[in-house]
Amino acid sequence: ADNDSDSGSDAAPECDPVQIEGDAKVSLAYDVGGRGDQSFNDSAYAGLQKAATEFGLTDTSEGEAGQDESEDVREERLRNFADTGHNVIVGVGFAYSEAVDTVAPDYPNVAFAVIDGFDPTEDDVNCNVAYLGFAENEGSYLVGAAAASQSETGTIGFVGGVNNTLIQKFEAGYTAGAEAVNPDIEVLTTYIEESDPAGFGDPAGGQAAAEGQYADGADIVFHAAGFSGTGVFDAAVAADKLAIGVDSDQFLTAGPEQAQHIITSMLKRVDTATYGFIQSVVDGEPDQGFTTFTLADDGVGYSTSGNFLTPETIATLEDYKQQIIDGDIEVPTAP
């Protein structure tokens, strides 16, 4: 992984690696939905599983967030893990950023990580917290290029769950990638919600948004809308058009009918990040500060299951990928 802690604000002071006591005991604190969501949370769990088998971890635990829960409930979840002897605690989802920031100083011998996290108090760095981020824009760039390469109408779409800067990162990369292939391409953009997180759990909204884009001429639609994405796939099936999945390889998890319309997925390897973090702890050098998982370390990428991408497309994507890794292409993070 590309450890940003030195490339960033170089605020990172003399931080000694956290010394956990005894064997690693890992806890995952899930976002709303918890394990079984076939996406974000499940991916983190897969990382834990892999680490558990490889490193022979026996004592692991999980907890999940509820709807409309308050900040102190999240904090209590983390403290409860720490109090019961867990010394590696991963908050899955950026909603845990504040809670981890508050709790971490009280448990200096526990290694914390927040996936998609950020440090809400940047002038006051916690040495025992790792923020695991992803270069979603890079992965999105590639699927944008894929969409533009295989679009027949010259119009493609993007459906975001909630219009926040995280999802805008997907949009920015996607648009840039598409325009790189075809400068005249038209990219339709719809956000299901402007700020209400319900946008990630609204399949009807996803379906309506995607149907609108297909009706307006798009033939490939990329979604970054969580569970609402199933609605996007439904729309693709109904319109007999194509779609691009997100986070995990959704060709593998979607229903058989939907899978036939998912030409690729933008991979965001939460499992890799989780596994990597646990590994760093087991290795005695727990990650600290900001870590961004990029194309270079396969932290993000694209899938080819189903063989929808033509060899030419794949060749183009691989070319772009190399250029991004080499720094020849600078992928924007905001639209």
């Binding site: 509820g66 900040e71 209590e76 403290r79 209400d196």
Partner: protein, 369 residues
């Protein structure tokens, strides 16, 4: 009060304490049956719910019940006048948003900022509630329907304002952080536990007493209650019910505007959806008011019960039960308690009628003799 016979006392106890008790038990039983019906273990459900919470959870329960109490009081003010202010949810979002923007701006220095912010939050809540009040009084729009619409609008508006005028924080936006000098110290009741009872949680007690005094002692409160019981009688007695509707709606909204202030000043210090803001308190407040029969003590009790159940439900995970079951328990409690009060109320009316008739008969016989 005169005539405090043992019989009366028993009546009061049976009449006001038994129904909630029966309701809670009934709700627990119903939830357990449901869990068992789907192959879960009601035993572990009850075990988790009735386990002793640790100090931190206890603190959280206290703080949550304070906020729920305020929300309940906001709803109760409307209920007492027969206004169903389902808009508490939207009003407290608006109040929280306005308050946090104001406090974060640091326009007023130091601790005075707290007071000023409370005024701003209450005013914003009142103003927002007044939209529903005005629509009802001047256009005859049911406050229930307009408030539902306003709830959605509030959420969207708050999101818009924070995105447009707030600052980036991670992937979303929040208001500016509350200046340090305006962060009040809480009550450290457990020295060993992190966190405290938020300073402004005491607002619940102040508002509770104020509400009780207003409703049961003042002329305004009397007129408010009369309007709720019989609008026609109120009007004939000289109450301007339109003005009353506007005032009460605004008052309810003002209290609603304060709902989240304890959390804001106590721990969160910034407003931004969804992470930094706890939504949903307004809806539960309605249930709290209903369960507490719109009485101060009842509201405190109901808020504590709801906060306790929610606090404990976070551990249901370990028992393999979805924590959502606690909503079922809460909903059934509300339903059961109103049924129980209804039954008790009918009984009471019957016994009172009998008592009056007996007395009259005795008088008649006395006169005949």
């Amino acid at each position: 009060m005169k005539g405090l016979t043992p019989r009366r006392v028993l009546d009061t106890v049976v009449g006001s304490l038994l129904p909630p008790l029966v309701a809670v038990v009934a709700a627990m039983v119903a939830t357990s049956v449901l869990i068992a019906a789907f192959g879960g273990s009601p035993g572990s459900f009850l075990e988790v719910i009735f386990s002793v919470p640790n100090d931190r959870v206890l603190l959280s329960i206290i703080n949550q019940s304070a906020m729920l109490s305020i929300s309940g009081i906001a709803a109760a003010i409307g209920f007492r006048m027969g206004l169903f202010n389902i808009g508490v949810e939207g009003q407290y979002i608006v109040g929280s948003c306005a308050g946090a923007f104001f406090a974060g701006s640091g326009l007023v220095p130091g601790p005075l900022n707290i007071l000023a912010t409370l005024v701003v939050a209450a005013a914003a809540g009142a103003a927002y509630a007044s939209i529903a009040g005005l629509l009802r009084v001047f256009r005859g729009v049911s406050e229930v329907i307009s408030a539902i619409m306003l709830n959605y609008i509030a959420l969207t508006m708050a999101g818009y304002l924070v995105t447009k005028y707030g600052q980036a924080s991670g992937y979303t936006f929040t208001t500016e952080r509350l200046p340090l000098d305006a962060q009040p110290l809480g009550f450290k009741i457990f020295p060993d536990a992190p966190g405290d009872v938020w300073a402004l949680s005491s607002l619940a007690i102040i508002l509770g007493i104020g509400y009780w005094f207003l409703i049961s002692r003042t002329r305004f409160g009397f007129e408010l209650r009369v309007t709720g019981e019989s609008e026609t009688a109120a009007r004939a007695s000289g109450v301007n019910t339109k003005k009353m509707t506007l005032l009460v709606m605004a008052l309810s909204g003002a209290v609603a505007g304060l709902v989240w202030m304890p959390a804001y000043f106590g721990s969160v210090h910034t407003f931004g959806t969804p992470e930094n803001f706890q939504a949903g308190l307004g809806f539960i407040g309605l249930a709290v008011a209903l369960l507490g029969r719109n009485r101060t003590l009842g509201i405190f009790f109901a808020a504590a019960l709801f906060a306790f159940l929610s606090g404990q439900s976070n551990n249901l995970q370990s028992a393999g039960i979805a924590k959502d079951v606690i909503d079922i328990t809460q909903g059934i409690t509300v339903l059961a308690v109103v049924v129980a009060y209804e039954v008790v109320g009918r009984r009471r009316a019957k016994t009172e009628a009998e008592r009056v008739a007996r007395q009259l008969d005795a008088e008649r016989e006395g006169a005949a003799a």
